[in-house]
């Protein structure tokens, strides 16, 4: 991590709109570093979700499209099918990907579309003010689950990585987090691996990143990290669920 304090070329110097302690910024940085290291900035197209990261394009210095809520994987499919030489990724939150966009992500993954998805799982709808998400933890209070998520009424949180790994076609499915330097290193390795598989034209690649939303969790950034460690990580287990080697 020698270059940590140097801004990657793929990252802009725009002032962040993310809240203090939000992990979106770290994930952006990892993506930018990977794009720099692979030397693909000039042929990369990102697809932004609708969520706090709708403005992600302000922080990157390469081409970007802005999708409708949940539809990023369909847009990425469109790009990749007409321009297979481009490097394409979607960046999506849990409301965007696992709620309204569940259809699009499952089918893009199942077709083995050769783009990459970075899935930011922060267990709430951040942008709209902290409503319940499909990934909200049991008994977690949100603005639309004021008595805590009742799993008898709305089911257990969806483990998206496992769900996609159950499909035969998608090649690379992994879950990591960014709540400490150790984890950040692993997350970066996973993102780089995902982009590398895409570069090689091998498979669909998906990186879930277990993240924080201190603002809507009503916690300090430190408390949010602790809560992620104690509550989310035991449920959302980290690691590779699938690689092309295990699939081939």
């Amino acid at each position: 991590m020698g270059k940590t304090f140097q801004r990657p070329e793929a990252l802009s110097d725009a002032v962040t709109h993310y809240c203090p302690g939000c992990t979106h910024g770290i994930i952006h940085r990892l993506i930018a570093e990977v794009i720099d290291e692979l030397g693909i900035r000039g042929r990369t197209v990102g697809v932004a979700p609708v969520g706090c990261a709708v403005l992600a394009y302000n922080y990157f210095t390469f081409d970007f499209q802005e999708a409708a809520h949940g539809r990023a994987p369909a847009m990425a499919t469109g790009i990749k099918r007409v321009r297979p030489d481009l490097m394409v990724f979607t960046y999506q939150g849990d409301g965007d990907l696992a709620s309204i966009g569940m259809g699009e992500i499952v089918h893009a993954a199942n077709r083995g579309e050769k783009f990459t998805t970075i899935f930011v799982n922060n267990a709430v709808y951040g942008m709209t003010g902290g409503q319940m998400a499909p990934t909200t933890m049991p008994n977690q209070r949100t603005t639309t689950s004021p008595f805590g998520r009742r799993v008898d009424e709305v089911g257990m949180p969806i483990k998206v990585a496992e769900l996609l790994a159950a499909l035969q076609t998608p090649g690379y499915i992994v879950r990591q987090t960014v709540i400490s330097p150790k984890y950040i290193k692993r997350a970066k390795r996973a993102i780089k691996q995902a982009f590398t598989y895409q570069k090689e034209g091998r498979c669909y690649s998906f990186v879930e990143v277990v993240s924080t939303c201190p603002t809507n969790w009503g916690m300090t950034p430190m408390e949010a990290i602790q809560w992620t460690q104690d509550t989310m990580l035991p449920y959302y287990e980290l690691g590779e669920l699938k690689t092309p080697e295990t699939t081939d």
């Binding site: 609708v50 709708v54 802005e66 409708a68 809520h69 949940g70 409301g95 709620s99 309204i100 569940m102 709808y125 942008m127 709209t128 003010g129 409503q131 319940m132 499909p134 603005t143 639309t144 689950s145 004021p146 008595f147 009424e153 709305v154």
Partner: protein, 355 residues
């Protein structure tokens, strides 16, 4: 119960409960997520059903299913979400089920913005989804009126077995005003045994009910569309609602404006009157049916030289105003649609240019 100070979004949620609707499905979207947040607390307490759907598409079919099963049901959303619901609304209208939709409009097209707008006028009044259907559309200009419209929407939806839409804007949702929930607007759900799929045992009948919208036989489809048309014609005859302002004066300009925009116009009209310029206003409370005749008649007044449609859109209602006037007086449009609501001063400025 006396007056309470409430945010429009919360008042809308409470109004539905007071009207006797205890079922709500929705998906969050700014600037109306407070309705869902409020009802996620209130409905369990009131013994009702609250469920956050996975998308607005899904919600519109949850609404369809519940309405077809005979329940009083409603949802709320904002522009991009309503676009997704339009598919379901088309099916609900075709299958003749009652349901209430609230659209707290924000600026579009596309993701647009989250500030107030009236740019979904066409979508609400001229279709939105596919096919020959209409919704009865009511547009509140205050939190109190939003409450009353929500409460009257349920019996109207049941009377016509058709979706009813409350078309508000972001300010109506976000503003707090004093409200009362009139007891006399509470209504009993109508008997739906003739058509609803509420279970043959429930209605003690051997005749099964079928809710559907597929009519492959052209005669049958035409007949269904004629039945729908008959209902819309009846709405045109019986449900037109509007309010007037300064119409007893010899106004030189007639403004047509609705919702939040009409309140700004009211202030502009007061100020213009002080300058000696008389302006009248018709405020449609129903956008479909549109007060065609009333606008037409009001424009006929000798003193009136110009009619202006003032709306937070790039000129949508103005087409209905033109349709009403049939060319008897010149019509123009004034509006803005970025979320910045025009000020009284801007409207005064515009009116002066007409004279």
């Amino acid at each position: 119960m006396g007056k309470v100070l409430m945010k429009g979004n919360e008042a809308i949620g409470e109004a539905a409960i007071r009207a006797g609707c205890l079922n709500y499905f929705a998906y969050p979207i700014t600037p109306q997520s407070e309705v869902a947040e409020y009802l996620s607390r209130r409905l369990p307490e009131a013994g009702g059903v609250f469920l956050q759907g996975e998308s607005e598409v899904a919600v519109s079919y949850m609404i369809f299913g519940a309405a077809a099963a005979g329940a009083r049901i409603f949802t709320t959303s904002s522009s991009p979400g309503i676009s997704l619901m339009c598919e379901g609304i088309s099916y609900i209208a075709a299958a003749q089920c009652p349901a209430v939709f609230v659209n707290i409009m924000r600026g579009g097209p596309g993701l647009g913005g989250i500030l107030p707008s009236q740019a979904d006028y066409f979508q609400a009044t001229k279709g939105g989804g596919h096919g020959d259907y209409r919704m009865l559309v009511m547009a509140p200009a205050s939190v109190q009126e939003a409450v009353e419209m929500v409460m009257t929407a349920f019996p109207l939806a049941e009377k016509y077995r058709n979706p009813v839409m409350i078309l508000g804007d972001g300010l109506i949702g976000q503003m707090m005003e004093p409200v009362e929930f009139p007891d006399d607007l509470r209504s009993e759900p109508s008997n739906k045994d003739d058509w609803a799929t509420n279970g043959m045992d429930t209605r003690r009948s051997d005749k099964r009910n079928l809710v559907k919208s597929l009519f492959l036989d052209p005669d049958q489809l035409n007949r269904n569309n004629l039945a729908l048309k008959a209902k819309y014609d009846r709405m045109n005859r019986e449900e037109v609602r509007y309010e007037t302002y300064h119409m007893d004066l010899d106004y030189r300009v007639l403004i047509v404006s609705y919702g939040t925009m009409s309140r700004v116009c009211r202030t502009a009209i007061d100020n213009l009157a002080e300058e000696g310029i008389d302006v009248g206003m018709i405020r449609p409370q129903t956008l479909f049916p549109f007060p065609v005749q009333q606008v037409h008649d009001a424009a006929q007044k000798q003193s009136c030289v110009h009619v202006a449609s003032i709306e937070m859109s790039m000129g949508q209602m103005v087409e209905d105003v033109q349709r009403a006037l049939q060319g008897v007086k010149p019509v123009s449009w004034y509006g803005k649609c970025g979320g910045d609501v025009p000020t009284p001063e801007e409207i005064m400025e515009f009116v002066r240019t007409l004279l």
